[in-house]
């Protein structure tokens, strides 16, 4: 395991504390602004969802652990804006200029919000890569769970499933491969499956003999058994 965000199965986090039934959607006004600024900046088209997830994962372990949820969002957003050349370090320091930005023509306007949110960002694609596995087939997850494309890079194979044996439960069609897309290496769509794992395959002391965990996994994460 190389990143703190990959926490499935970890011990020591204590109980889950349910929200009060009347808890507001946003606990503080700045939470709402952080979400909205992040979505609005996404509409500038300078990155994709995998790049933005990876930006949060790349926060230093100290920041990832110490930051609250929306603090991670806004901090990763600031990092991305500078990395992608949208803003400069001087801008963040309050020493930039206020000239109209070349990307200002792409700004998300209030009357386009509804259509933009409704459109979303589907990730299913046509792919030349045929499904290699059929329903019910036994497969084994790659081990270790690290990205194969970029050392220390983004992947969506959780460490707790690395090397585990599972069975193909559903075929979702071909979807954009985050490991590639998060690094600007192209969408590289390939078959995506829901894979069923017995809890006993993943945990030393499963709670119930029939418990299962289902994980969505790309074809390149899986090997035939």
């Amino acid at each position: 395991m190389t990143r703190l965000h990959d926490m499935g199965g970890r011990f020591g986090d204590g109980p889950v504390v349910p929200d009060a039934p009347d808890a507001p959607v946003f606990a503080a006004e700045w939470h709402a602004r952080a979400l909205a600024v992040t979505l609005a900046c996404g509409a500038l088209g300078q990155w994709n969802i995998d790049i933005s997830r990876h930006a949060r994962e790349r926060l230093s372990p100290k920041d990832y652990t110490g930051f609250s949820y929306y603090e991670k969002w806004i901090s990763a957003l600031a990092d991305l804006l500078v990395e992608r050349g949208v803003l400069t370090v001087e801008d963040l320091l309050g020493q930039g200029d206020d000239r109209p930005h070349p990307l200002a023509s792409k700004v998300l306007m209030a009357n386009d919000v509804a259509a933009t949110l409704a459109k979303g960002g589907p990730t299913d694609r046509a792919s030349d890569i045929a499904p290699r596995f059929s329903l019910g087939q036994a497969v084994r997850c790659r081990h270790p769970a690290d990205s194969c494309l970029v050392d220390g890079g983004h992947t969506r194979l959780p460490a707790y499933a690395a090397g585990a044996r599972g069975y193909i439960l559903r075929l979702h069609g071909a979807h954009v491969l985050p490991d590639s897309n998060a690094h600007g290496l192209g969408e590289a769509p390939e078959p995506l499956y829901a894979v069923r794992f017995a809890a006993a395959e993943l945990w030393a002391n499963p709670e119930h003999p029939n418990d299962q965990v289902i994980i969505d996994l790309w074809q390149s994460y899986l090997m035939p058994i």
């Binding site: 199965g9 204590g14 926060l59 949820y69 963040l92 309050g94 020493q95 589907p122 969506r156």
Partner: protein, 218 residues
């Protein structure tokens, strides 16, 4: 605005090779001020429209929320044909009801039975079916939930005051891709003959994530 706070490096020291790995550290550390500072900078440059931010917030605060998912579940309970369609192709079925968009592009509905109780998590971040359930609650995004529910689902259910029958197995769906899962809770006893709105009132947000059960009619 907090933008003028002293920095370890003066501007002249920030040559390209000194670009900090994490530029966010240049913004005010207080998160509310950090958001405000970024919003101000982006607005001045014409990169965000503050009215668009208000519109986004209004959408997720007032228009899109678990009441949408509750309508879907109520219909699945009420209408066998819709239930079949929902379990077969949830994306098409909920789109027909007018629920679609960001973070709900690819939907799968999973149905609880006496033998299997479904729960949904995103261990790697906070993926959640926004068009049906809105913005996830704080606990869904918490380390405790993300870390534990895959390994200790009954322990998590106990935190929510839920106990399953001994024979019921748990299926935890880890949303690692762009597919979003909706749990269809079991229809409670005593709900026979209720209309769609009365049924929807029994469907809680947590019951559609799997950390709760549908309410029993009074």
């Amino acid at each position: 605005m907090g933008l003028d706070r002293p920095q370890a490096n003066s501007q002249s020291d920030l040559m390209p090779h000194d670009l900090p790995d994490h530029p966010h550290a240049l913004l005010p550390p207080d998160p509310a001020l950090r958001v405000k500072a970024l919003e101000t900078i982006l607005t001045r440059k014409g990169l965000i429209d503050p009215a668009a931010l208000d519109e986004i917030i209004d959408t997720y605060q007032n228009k899109i929320g678990p009441q949408n998912g509750a309508q879907v579940v109520a219909r699945a309970w009420h209408d066998q044909e819709f239930r079949t369609a929902l379990l077969e192709d949830a994306t098409a079925a909920v789109t027909d009801l007018g629920y679609f968009g960001r973070q709900g592009e690819h939907m799968v509905a999973v149905e609880n039975t006496p033998d299997i109780h479904n729960m949904v998590v995103c261990t790697l971040c906070s993926c959640y079916p926004w068009p049906l359930l809105g913005i996830p609650p704080a606990w869904y995004k918490s380390d405790a939930y993300r870390a534990r529910v895959v390994r200790d689902p009954r322990g998590v259910l106990a935190d929510f005051g839920v106990t399953l029958p001994k024979k019921t197995a748990v299926r935890v769906w880890d949303s690692t891709a762009e597919v979003r899962y909706l749990v269809v809770p079991m229809r409670p006893a005593g709900s026979e003959g209720l209309d769609l709105d009365a049924l929807a009132a029994l469907v809680t947000r947590d019951s559609m994530i799997g950390t709760g059960l549908a309410k029993v009619p009074k």
